[in-house]
């Protein structure tokens, strides 16, 4: 009953009911606009939407995951952010954070899905195993495969939090023993917003949820289904060590003088140049830092198959998916060597097999040489 009542409230009403002042509400709106990558002029519209828009129900499913995404999510910097997400958007089901447990929680989910059919947002954390009918992940006696199909049915949109639900993640890494797949391999008929990362930045997660909650539509997505405002840039293109990169100043080991000076980590395997994320701009822990700022190269955690593209401290060396330790350059050298060796063998063979022709040419040429006009 309580749920239904709260669903009738607008965002604004619920914030005020919690005892926040209008001033902090406005501050919050400005803050969120920045998170969502909106222009300053959009703040007014955001305020208006929050004052008039009804709260949106959210169902959050957890499958093959480490719960690190939830962990990141609740660490949002601004107190209101956590509030908004955990209370205001009416998170009707998330087995990690909800008060109810066991049958109670499953019942609450069923009730909410029924009452809000076609309206709720489905958040998915974790990949879905498909091998042996998906027995490798079961919740309340049902497989993840069954559950995702059921909860996606009535969802208005799906947001996949983390690399597991977006790409497959660690359980889908070679050799993928449980046949894990990301959400978009199973659900084809719903808009899916991918928020990859291991975990994603909390402000990015809230930003995406709020964007949908506020505007009722999904943000601009790139070709791979990620919101452009957060995943439009490579870490490398917003990295503060970029001048060192262009100057050719690299750290080659963690204990070197160069590392101390803050040189570029490219040669320590930095995946910044191939990774799309907002680490360089939004930052982690309230903008305090991000891996590169702490002296650690980017491991590309928001990229597809990043587990298979190891080792982390080398520059994209091993051929992914081969299951053996073979670097691209080693194979290249073999190919090149085979070509050169083949040519050498062929050259010797040609001298043997074509001897007649070669000799004939030479003899005839010699005779001509003897018969030149003076």
């Amino acid at each position: 009953m309580k749920n239904e009542l709260q669903n009738e409230e607008t965002f604004y009403e619920s914030i005020i009911r919690k005892g926040y002042s209008r001033r902090s509400f406005l501050k919050f709106a400005t803050y969120m606009a920045a998170f969502m990558g909106l222009e300053n002029s959009m703040v007014g519209q955001l305020v208006k939407t929050m004052e008039t828009k009804k709260r949106i129900p959210v169902i959050w499913e957890h499958f093959q995951e480490c719960t690190g995404c939830s962990e990141s999510f609740i660490k949002s910097d601004h107190p209101l952010v956590a509030d908004v997400i955990l209370d205001t958007i009416s998170l009707d089901y998330t087995d990690t954070l909800m008060a109810a447990a066991g049958h109670q929680s499953e019942a609450a989910k069923q009730a909410s899905m029924k009452a809000n059919y076609g309206k709720y947002i489905l958040i998915v954390e974790g990949a879905i195993p498909t091998k042996n009918d998906g027995v490798y992940c079961t919740i309340a006696g049902r497989t993840a495969l069954e559950i995702i199909k059921e909860s996606a049915e009535g969802a208005a949109a799906i947001i996949t939090f983390g690399s597991c639900s977006s790409w497959g993640g660690v359980q889908a890494a070679y050799p993928n023993p449980t046949g894990s797949v990301p959400v978009d391999a199973i659900i084809k008929d719903k808009p899916i917003i991918k928020v990859p990362g291991c975990p994603p930045i909390s402000e990015v997660m809230t930003g995406v949820v709020l964007y949908y909650a506020m505007f009722g539509r999904i943000p601009d997505l790139d070709d791979e289904g990620r919101p452009k405002q957060f995943y439009g840039k490579r870490v490398h293109d917003s990295c503060y060590r970029r001048p060192y990169f262009d100057a050719g100043l690299y750290a080659e080991s963690f204990d070197s003088e160069e590392a101390k000076k803050g040189y570029c980590l490219y040669k320590l395997g930095c995946r910044g140049p191939v990774t799309y994320n907002a680490c360089g701009t939004v930052g982690w822990n309230g903008g305090l830092g991000f891996p590169i700022k702490s002296g650690h190269p980017c491991i590309g955690c928001s990229e597809n198959k990043f587990w298979d593209n190891g080792p982390f401290y080398k520059r994209l060396e091993n051929i992914p998916g081969m299951g053996i330790e073979a670097t691209a350059d080693e194979i290249g050298k073999i190919v090149l060597g085979a070509a050169a060796g083949g040519a050498a063998v062929h050259a010797i063979a040609a001298n043997i097999f074509k001897k007649k022709e070669i000799d004939e040419n030479r003899e005839m040429g010699k005779i001509n040489e003897q018969n030149l006009n003076e």
Binding site: G232, E258, K305, A338, A343, H346, K354, E357, N361
Partner: protein, 259 residues
Amino acid sequence: MKTMTYNYKRVYVWEFAVRFFHWLTVLSLIVLIVTGFIIANPPSLNLNVEAAKSYWFGYVRLIHFTFAYILIANLLFRIYWAFAGNQFANWRNFIPYTKKHWQNIFYVLKVDIFLQKDKEHKVENISIGHNALAAFSYLIMTLFFLLQVATGLALKADTSDWWFPKMFHWVIPLFGGDIATRYVHHILTWLFMAFVVIHVYLVLYHDYIEARGEASAMISGFKFVRAERIKQNIRSFVNKVKKQMKDGNIKGNIENDPE
């Protein structure tokens, strides 16, 4: 005494445009491979300077991108020339769509690759321009070139303001991300190097065995072709040339009437 070798005639095979294309490709390939490997694994020179004072790695990338565009323009020009150029430059050489192509491919495989005896000794079997197997290998290399160009431009797309590289952005999701796209780009580089080795070797092989100017043809444009292969009755052609000279279209004179 009669000359003892066959009689050979000079045939203009590779037009200037083709030779220009060839050597510009050589140049850009060398530059792209060298800069490409530097980009993949730069040496830590770590010159004792402030980052603001140095930009050498940025310049290496700039050179790589510049020559990439030169290569692309060159490639487009060559595709145009496949329609505008002479019979040896024509696109029909490169696609083995007739029985004749395949016969020649098998001939070359037999005689030049597996070094079997050429029992028939038919002069028609000796190609004047590309042999069908070589031409087919260039078609395949062109496709790899296009793939290399597409992956390169796709990686460039996000940091470019120009619509041209942006056009290739779809390649990235096709391979499943920047990492995979970069792999393809990197591995293809090795393939091109292997191709260069084989290509240069086979040119030298033909020059050595056939001794008719295979290698120098890419400098002068001429190859030597057995006299029997040139139409003997060229009276009408000679008259045409003489008339052109009289009209002042061609300079020179024909002293030794070829007949």
